[in-house]
């Protein structure tokens, strides 16, 4: 199940769906739809949540892992995608040997775990226990958990833009992970919020150390994004990192 690196180039934006007419279809809407449809989906969610925590993976790494799946796997099902991404990640990190799981489904397994990872799993189990409660102390929710789960990091750099500025979304550089969708690329919008600076997902996905970046909400009119096809009186607001933007 190893990822073919060639796929990254031939299918660069399998996941980048905004405005892609070939995916347009009625939404299979069910107001009562639960998050899971089968037990295996729950297990995949639980296993991924545990492993990502214990192995200290960033959410960006896992997103990038799913984005690199071959099209058939990416479009199989949501949790099928998670399963494939998890297997690839575990193989890449040497926790699973290629084909090991296939052997297990018929016979027994062979490889042993890594001691460091085993210790981390035990620590994770202990840390999670007091956190998995319906409610937690207010100070923890307001000050501790946002630091643990968010990527906001202060920067000393001056912000290039301010609320009210017109900005254009620059061409994408590179073909790696990014949170810059294709449908806003090259489009002009207006800064409506200046958020706290945050670590750049493009860098975090591949362990590249970079200073954090200013982050802005940009408002685009429907007409700017879609031209004459746009519906009247519609707009899209999206958060974009400073390096995605230039003065517009």
């Amino acid at each position: 199940m190893c990822t073919l690196s060639a796929y990254r180039h031939s299918v660069p934006s399998l996941h980048d769906l905004g405005g892609r007419a070939e995916y347009f279809a009625p939404v299979g809407y069910d107001p009562a739809e639960p998050p899971f449809h089968a037990r295996w989906e729950e297990r995949v969610f639980g296993i991924v949540s545990f492993v990502q925590t214990s192995l200290g993976k960033k959410v960006d790494e896992f997103r990038y892992e799913t984005e690199q799946l071959p099209e058939q796997q990416y479009s199989s099902s949501y949790f099928g995608r998670w399963l494939a991404a998890l297997e690839n990640e575990l193989e890449r990190d040497g926790h699973l040997v290629a084909g090991e799981l296939d052997a297990t489904t018929t016979e027994r397994s062979s490889a042993t775990g890594r001691t460091g990872a085993r210790v981390r799993a035990k620590v994770t189990a202990l840390v999670l226990r007091p956190l998995l409660r319906p409610t937690l102390p207010r100070w923890m929710c307001a000050y501790v958990l946002p630091k643990a789960f968010g990527a906001s990091r202060p920067t000393l750099r001056r912000a290039a833009f301010t609320v009210g500025d017109r900005v254009r979304v620059r061409p994408r550089r590179g073909d790696g992970h990014t949170r810059q969708p294709e449908y806003v690329t090259g489009k002009t919008g207006v800064v409506t919020t200046h958020h706290r600076a945050a670590a750049l997902p493009d860098a975090r996905a591949v362990h590249r150390r970079e200073p954090s970046q200013h982050l802005y909400t940009i408002a685009f009119t429907g007409a700017e994004l879609w031209g004459p096809a746009a519906e009247e009186g519609t707009e899209v607001r999206i958060d974009l990192y400073e390096s995605y933007l230039e003065a517009g």
Binding site: R20, Y23, E42, A142, H195, I238
Partner: protein, 196 residues
């Protein structure tokens, strides 16, 4: 379909067994994680927050100023909630949330997203044809009302503060909360008033 399902179910079971054997997962913690995100965390959290915002103007202001700190007053916090932003529906603006790149969603107030939210149809179309998509989902937005789509792509996780329905003047927080649905907080539905 069912053969494929049982195939993948067997594969997941094998993977779980293998990871447990290698000491890479703690099965009890996996059980707890699933329980937590299906039972403890869900749209009832968000409904309580919305109901309070409807009856308490000072809280509503705190919610609009800093969603994460405001919901912390209820003891709600965790992953996909580090930077919670509340967007308010008004008679002139209707807000609706999507994630075109993956499945970003405000877990701390809404729990885990339903399948349709993660579907390629919703993710591709909502930014381009929001009125048509909402209409098909049963929500007709008047032409004079601006439709504002929030594409969650970075740190912020957006959720909608719906308009309080008519006919609820005498209601308390708990009763109001019972009217608020997950889909109203995503922005694909209205909060309906009490059935007469």
């Amino acid at each position: 379909m069912s053969a494929e399902h049982s195939g993948i179910a067997a594969r997941v079971e094998a993977l779980e067994g293998l990871l447990a054997q290698k000491g890479l997962i703690d099965v009890e913690s996996v059980d707890r994680l699933i329980d937590h995100f299906t039972s403890d965390v869900g749209p009832l959290n968000g409904a309580k927050v919305i109901a309070r915002a409807w009856v308490d103007a000072a809280f509503k202001q705190r919610l609009l100023d800093d969603g994460t700190k405001a919901v912390a007053e209820f003891g709600f916090g965790g992953p996909e909630g580090a930077c919670l932003v509340t967007v308010e529906n008004t008679p002139t603006v209707h807000n609706v949330v999507v994630c075109t790149l993956c499945s970003c969603y405000p877990w701390t107030v809404l729990g885990l997203p339903p399948g349709w939210y993660k579907s390629s149809a919703y993710r591709s179309r909502l930014v381009a044809q929001p009125r048509a998509v909402l209409r098909e989902m049963g929500l007709d937005i008047q032409p004079e009302v601006i439709v504002r789509v929030w594409d969650s792509s970075a740190e912020a996780r957006y959720f909608v503060l719906p308009m309080r329905p008519a006919g609820t003047a005498g209601m308390g927080e708990a009763e109001l909360a019972s009217l608020v649905t997950r889909d109203a907080m995503i922005g694909v539905a209205r909060v309906e008033g009490p059935v007469a």
